[in-house]
């Protein structure tokens, strides 16, 4: 009897795995403005001028007037999303995958505030991880789609989107002159919820 029982070989195990559940895992990475090195220690309060900052690390991601002076904001973001996918080699399900995703954003932020003469009066550097949450989806097997919402961290500069901003909902369009991306009314970090602060004028949900 033992001689008749078929031995377990690796092609059979592989075939079994293919039948039970074919893994279709995905790694998505997005780096935004991540090439420069941010560091606050080389800047000294009341001594560093904004021209020294620009010479050292270049123009900021955002700048705005602030009281009589100005404020620089440097931001660097590295978004990482990992997806675990399962596919069943049965009937129509063989063309679909069931995915579960988790995302995290590694962020660096440097804020520098200058007085009316251009000298540094306040500075702060922060490096932190932001949990972007999770997502699930059923999608076509041959597709790579992000399942975690990181759109608020991927907003482009206001100068590249001002035209399309005129097509936004009316409260948002009317609020555009006070927009925090124009450089006239202050600045804000990427990812700030739309239902707080200055954005409350836009009547977002």
């Amino acid at each position: 009897m033992r001689e008749n029982s078929s031995p377990i070989s690796w092609p059979r195990i592989l075939l079994l795995l293919l039948i039970i559940g074919l893994c279709s895992c995905t790694a998505i990475s997005k780096k935004i403005d991540a090439e420069r090195t941010l560091d606050e220690h080389s800047f000294i309060l009341s001594e560093t001028h904004y021209r020294d900052v620009i010479d050292k690390i270049g123009p900021p991601s955002k700048l705005s007037k602030y009281n009589d002076g100005l404020v620089f904001l440097y931001e660097s973001i590295d978004i990482k999303e990992r997806q675990l996918g399962l596919n069943f080699n049965y009937n129509i399900f063989r063309w679909l995958k069931f995915s579960y995703a988790r995302g995290v954003a590694e962020r660096e932020t440097l804020l520098l505030i200058f007085d009316r003469d251009g000298y540094l009066v306040a500075k702060n550097y922060k490096e932190f991880k932001e949990n972007l949450g999770s997502g699930q989806a059923v999608s076509f097997l041959v597709s790579i789609e992000s399942l975690v919402d990181s759109s608020s961290l991927e907003e482009g500069p206001a100068s590249l989107t001002w035209g399309s901003s005129l097509l936004k909902p009316l409260p948002e369009t009317l609020n555009y002159p006070q927009n925090l991306g124009t450089g006239e009314s202050g600045i804000e970090q990427l990812g700030v919820p739309d239902s707080v602060g200055q954005h409350t004028l836009e009547l977002a949900d």
């Binding site: 074919l22 279709s24 895992c25 780096k31 041959v142 100068s159």
Partner: protein
């Protein structure tokens, strides 16, 4: 019986062929913003702090992406955004990498419109 044995023999090869057939890859590239003329040395060497005017900067580099009105004078902010990406579909494992870079130039003027400071970003995007 012979054909089943033959199938068993070539099964790994068949599976590997199936794996290869399902490989696909892609790249993406996109630029948005103004032409980064500030990377041309012949233009940059014409810039002189306390001498160059707003008009001369506009003639050299074109209209800025953004003009910011500070109390001490105007700021011209030039910006070129580049998105580069690549991905691979391997059936068992897929990946997609995307990188967004910015090439920036900034010019500060006094109330008379004379250049007081300027700077270029460390990142340098190749012009297409």
């Amino acid at each position: 019986m012979v054909s089943i044995k033959l199938m068993d023999k070539f099964k790994p090869l068949l599976l590997f062929s199936l794996f290869l057939l399902n490989i696909s890859c892609f790249t993406l590239s996109d630029q948005q913003g103004v032409d980064n003329l500030w990377r041309e040395e012949s233009r940059v060497e014409n810039i002189k702090v306390s001498e160059t005017t707003q008009n001369e900067i506009i003639e050299l580099f074109g209209p800025p992406s953004q003009i910011i009105n500070l109390d001490s004078g105007a700021v011209f902010y030039y910006l070129l955004q580049e998105k580069k990406g690549r991905g691979m579909f391997l059936l068992l494992f897929n990946f997609k990498d995307e990188q967004v870079s910015y090439d920036r130039a900034i010019f500060f003027f006094d109330k008379k419109g004379i250049l007081t400071d300027y700077g270029l970003s460390v990142e340098n995007i190749e012009r297409k």
